[in-house]
Structure formats: C-alpha cells, structure tokens
C-alpha cells in the first residue's frame, strides 16, 4: 500500500526535505522588471558571451547550478541526483549542463512545468531515502525558444495580445534531508488536460484547465483550503490564463482569488515592457520561485505557498499538424516551518 499517498494525486512527505539554497539568473529584460532585486545575477548580454543562444542558455544553467551549490555550502560531489529539464529539442540545455556537472542525472520534460516537476520528484527521492542532496533546476531563453517554436528574431511580425514572452532565465534549488527549511511538504502531480485549444499564441488558455484541475485536486486530497495558503502561484498562465483559471476554480467551489498570483504576471511590468499577456517558459516559474518567493519564505513574510508550475505539452510539429495543446500543472506545497 502506498503509505505516503493521500487522496488521488497527492503525496504527503513524511520527512519533508528542506530547500537549503536557491539561485536565479535572468536576462536583461527580466532584470528591468519589478522583481530585479530578488535575482542573484542579471545578465547584461543575453548571449552570455557565447556564440549561440543555445550555448548561452547552457551557460546560464551551469552558472545557476554552481551558484546554488556554493550558496548551500556543499561540494557538488555530495549531490546524489540532478533533476533538470528545459524547452529545447531533446532537452539539450539540461543534458549538456549535466555533462559538465558529472552528477547522476535524470532528464525531465514537462515544458514550463519543470520547476515544480523537479521539486516534486526530488522531494520524493529524498523522502524515500534515496539521497541526501538533490539539485532541481530548469532554464529557458527567449531567443533559443523563439527560433525553435516561432519565427526568426529579426522577422517583422506582429504578436497578438494573448501571446506571451519566454523568460530568459535559469533557476536551481538544492533539496536536502537535513536543514532549516523552507520545506516541501506536499506534492500534487498533475494530469494532462486538453480542452481543445489550438492557438499557440494563447498558451495561458491552453494550460489553465490543467492548473485548475491540479489546484482543486490538491484541496480535495489534502483538506487544505485557500485560506491555508499565503500565496498560490501558477507558473506562466499570464493575464488571460490566470483569469480563466480563477473562474474554473470558482466553478468547483473554491475561491482562491485573494491569494492567487502568476509568475508570468509578476516577472514583467506589463504596462512598460511590451510582453503582451505576460511571461512564459521553464525559467519563468523557476526564477520567480528561486528568487522572489524563496526570499519571502526565508524572511518569514509568508509561511506557506502552493507553487503550481504549468506546462503546454505541444511541439511545433504537433501544432503544424493541427493538434490541440495539452496542458499540465504540478503543484508543490512549500512551508517555512513544519
């Protein structure tokens, strides 16, 4: 019998692992946003001194991993597993980073849900007794994502108002068996939900049913209520998707609007930064969590947060073949004290 499983989709961690350190690194545009002060490094050049954007993303991921390890005050040799994923074909950023790290590595693909996915799996590995230190990380880069999913950078196209802006950023978190928190206490794994949205320029709408499904299931499984949380943050639903998710959750009898926010809305100043609906990408929830929310937890400004990273699981090929966009959302509860 699954001893630690509660309800349909949730795991309650018996010995909640501690997030002992995080790091975040962002591009110049994110560095001009309202959360600038919370990031460890703000790049002045989004090529990061490299020859290609793919290499730049890899460099960012490497740097954020190194930074998290040094902040944790450990040697990388003691890390049991590295869990990482990204948006590029065959998750090259993660695998090339793992090549340099030399740590046992699980490559993940959950699109932009990767931060919560890696924290989920990492926490379960520690609670299961399979490791003492686990590195959970993800990254995305506007320019490398753009050339894979959309148009060349210099092409003169117009974006619709529902479009989102891929965050250039990498975030890493180190989970440890021992530590003084914040702790990962619950993990709710999402189902793939597809409501038939086909517009790749409206990914928030494609992902919000998955976010709503996971959040509602989390309440049902754990018995928590919206008021038990200081913040419930989705990954990258942005303006359109957040509103839709809020309504979907209300329809199921939970009102989270008081504590509900979205990393894609937090990271940019929507009035000044011309990002249309808001931010997206693996890096979006990664840097907002590793930078902003982790800082608030560490300072004691908030006590409990539900981090719900959301992913759109399509590819350029599936879009061209007329397939709709499946969405997923993974949730982790992170508490300052247990």
């Amino acid at each position: 019998m699954a001893l630690k499983k509660i309800g349909k989709q949730t795991v309650r961690l018996e010995a909640p692992p501690s997030i002992i350190a995080t790091s975040s690194i962002v591009g110049p545009k994110e560095g001009q946003g309202p959360l600038a002060q919370y990031f460890d490094t703000i790049l002045s050049d989004d090529l990061c001194g490299q020859k290609s954007y793919e290499k730049a993303e890899c460099k960012m991921a490497m740097d954020s991993a190194d930074k998290a390890i040094s902040k944790a005050g450990i040697q990388k040799e003691v890390i049991d597993y590295m869990l990482s994923g990204d948006l590029l074909n065959q998750i090259i950023t993660s695998s090339y980073t793992a090549r340099e790290m030399g740590i046992p590595y699980f490559g993940l693909y959950g699109a932009c849900s990767t931060m919560a996915e890696s924290l989920s799996l990492g926490s379960m590995l520690i609670d299961g007794g399979y490791g003492d230190y686990i590195l959970c990380m993800t990254s995305s880069h506007f320019s490398s994502a753009e050339r894979q999913y959309r148009f060349p950078l210099e092409q003169g196209t117009q974006r619709p108002p529902t479009a989102q802006w891929t965050v250039t950023g990498a975030g890493a978190a180190i989970l440890s068996r021992e530590g003084n928190g914040p702790y990962v206490t619950h993990v709710t794994t999402g189902r793939v939900i597809d409501m038939g949205i086909k517009d790749a320029n409206n990914m928030g709408a494609a992902m919000s049913p998955a976010a709503a499904d996971t959040i509602v299931q989390h309440f049902k499984d754990t018995g928590f209520e919206p008021k038990d949380y200081d913040i419930i943050a989705t990954g990258d639903l942005a303006a359109v998707g957040k509103e839709l998710a809020d309504d979907l959750i209300k329809k199921q009898g939970y009102d989270i609007s008081n504590v509900f926010t979205d990393c894609g809305i937090e990271i940019y100043d929507s009035k000044k930064q011309d990002v249309h609906a808001g931010g997206s990408g693996c890096g979006c929830s990664a840097v907002v969590f590793c930078g902003y929310f982790y800082d608030m937890l560490a300072k004691g400004l908030i006590n409990r947060i539900l981090m719900v990273s959301t992913g759109a699981l399509m590819s350029p090929t599936s879009s061209q073949q007329g397939e709709s966009i499946p969405g997923i959302a993974h949730a982790v509860t992170i508490e300052r004290m247990v």
Partner: protein, 152 residues
C-alpha cells in the same frame, strides 16, 4: 460511453467559447491604420526611387527592374541592422506585403540559422518563410501563363 464523450466534447466547446470571450482582441482598426501608413510610406519610397531613376534618364522598363533591387536592398539592410522587426511590430501587413518584407523574410532566417553552418543553416533555412510564397507564386504564374497562352 457515447454519452460521456459528448459531455466531454460539450465541456470543451463551452470552454473554448469562454476563452474566445476572455481573450483580448488585436486592435484591428489601429493595426489597419498603421499598416496603411507604414505600407504607404514604403511604397512612396519606392516611387521616389522610380521618379529619381526616370529623372536620370533611365527608361521605364529598366527602372522597373532597378526599383525592386533597391527596395530589396533596403529591406535586407534594415533587417541586418535589426530595425525591420521593429517596423514590422507596428506596420504589420504594411511592412510584410511590400517587397521589403519579402527581403526581411529571407534575410532574417538566414541570419538566425547561420550558427548551424552555411549549408544546413543559411542554405537550408533561408527560404523557410519565403519558400511557400515562391512555390505557390511560381506555380500560379505558370497556370495563369498557360491559360493566357490558350485564350489569347
């Protein structure tokens, strides 16, 4: 089972309807006006070069070869400088439809994919956007040519 399917389908339809209502629309009127102005300016520049060439004594049939060459140069040049995408952000179809936009759609992937090498990058990806336009443009001109040949 069948009933469940239709219920799920209905739920999807309802959701898609809500998404349609909640998603902000593009500012159609403003975009049209901007496209008109930007497209008009580009065409006026083309006309300027045409007049200039005529003034220099170049015959009409020759200047109609030179003007596209000049405009393609400017489209490509401004793409290389990283300016054309900013014009496109406001101009929309006004900067895509003229021949400068065609130049932009060839030069921008060529620049972007240079990192994959000159053969599989620049060579293979250069026409990734303009390719369909060329294929169907040439195909339809052949068909129209044939029709013209027979009904003339």
């Amino acid at each position: 089972m069948n009933k469940n399917m239709t219920e799920a389908e209905k739920k999807k339809k309802d959701y898609q309807q809500i998404v349609k209502q909640k998603s902000p629309k593009s500012a159609l009127f403003k975009n049209c006006v901007l496209a008109f102005i930007v497209g008009g300016i580009i065409c006026s520049i083309g006309q300027f070069f045409s007049n200039l060439l005529t003034k220099w004594g170049i015959p009409k049939d020759e200047s109609s070869i030179w003007v596209p060459i000049i405009m393609v140069f400017w489209g490509a040049f401004l793409t290389g400088l990283g300016v054309y995408d900013n014009i496109g952000k406001y101009g929309g179809a006004g900067s895509i439809v003229p021949i400068t936009g065609f130049a932009n759609s060839i030069v921008s992937p060529a620049m972007e994919f240079k990192k994959e090498g000159y053969v599989l990058g620049v060579g293979a990806k250069m026409f990734v956007i303009a390719g369909p336009v060329l294929v169907y443009g040439i195909a339809s001109s052949v068909i129209v040519g044939l029709i013209y040949y027979f009904i003339r």
